[in-house]
Subunit: 183 residues, 2 copies
DNA sequence: AGCTTAAAGCGAACATGTTGCTTCAAGCGC
DNA sequence: GCGCTTGAAGCAACATGTTCGCTTTAAGCT
């Protein structure tokens, strides 16, 4: 395991920072372990031993960036909250950088734990929204249903059919789930 | 572009064959461009020039393997046909080798065309099923809806939450779409 | 048949990935 | 506090993989 403080932590932070800087400067295609190591002031072998290879390192960094920063906005109703969140999610994930992070997270991930983390992030956000709905005495679907009916279709299209995606699609999915009558 | 016949075609075929053989013999982790080249009786530079890197080559081969071999079985009703197809799809795709192909196909695919091809395969199969239902004068959802409600949730779980998947889930999704009353 | 040209072969220069051994310092017991 | 233990980082030599310019081959055309 990684030692909590001191040198190990510094190395980890500096390697992560180096990845982000270089991603912005030279693009992810041009990233290599030696390049990252040099920027981080570290030897390549340190990275190979800690992360195994470049993909796992990128996967690590990608998951960090996919972590949501703030709780979903409260717009007063289940439907509005879901629409709002889904639109934002779709926008972030379907953008070139979002897709790149997603792919990195899925890729360098032999045991699937990073991918699982992504899904868990979405589930947390949805859980907050559903909790609010319950507080308003609205009837709400459970998290699994929202994952199946809203998140999964968006992800599928982002990964497999990225053309012609827009926020209207997110609203349609939510409408199909919570009904188009109440608003 | 690749010249249709003659040497180029032979090289392509022999490289693809080499990938499949070596995948079976040494596992995909151990695959390298020089190794594949040697087995195919080709120089590494040929592979680098034609495919760019190992991932794109693997992506190519993976898509070939994800192509469905036969039309979905006809079991007499829309619901049975969908259930049958979805169960088989889920079983194939969630197995370790299926997931590996899926990941390869997604991975070495800068422009998303290989991923699009995967989705197109599924859409074709579903289209056949829906066409049959129309022939029986059954009411059927359109292809997009089946993609959203059945294929996407399965894919999402395969990629992001591979634990505890079984064919019952496929049946639930179909039931949720075509209704649980008619059978 | 001869020409044109994309694609394959070859080999050397180069970059990247791997490994054993050494050095460093965080965390722990005294 | 002070030194011990141990996991992690550094270093350097080595193996492997990648790229590139140039040459050669043969597919497709006229």
């Amino acid at each position: 395991m990684v030692r909590p403080g001191g040198r190990s932590a510094r190395v980890q932070a500096s390697v992560h920072a180096a990845v982000r800087e270089l991603e912005a400067e030279v693009g992810r295609e041009a990233l290599t372990v030696p390049l990252v190591a040099t920027r981080a002031g570290v030897t390549p072998s340190t990275i190979y031993r800690r992360w195994g290879d470049l993909q796992e390192l990128l996967s690590d960094v990608a998951v960090e960036r996919l972590r949501p920063e703030k709780a979903p906005r409260d717009r007063g109703s289940l439907r509005s909250d879901l629409e709002d969140w889904a639109e934002q999610f779709l926008e972030e994930m379907s953008a070139p950088t979002g897709r790149a992070y997603l792919r990195d997270a899925l890729l360098g991930d032999p045991d699937g734990s990073n991918a699982g983390q992504c899904s868990a992030y979405a589930a947390e956000q949805i859980d907050v929204i559903i909790g609010r709905a319950a507080g308003r005495a609205e009837t709400a679907p459970d998290v699994e249903t929202v994952l199946d009916r809203v998140v999964a279709p968006m992800m599928y299209r982002i990964l497999f059919r990225p053309e012609g995606l827009d926020t209207a699609y997110a609203r349609e999915l939510v409408a199909g789930l919570v009904g188009t009558t109440d608003r």
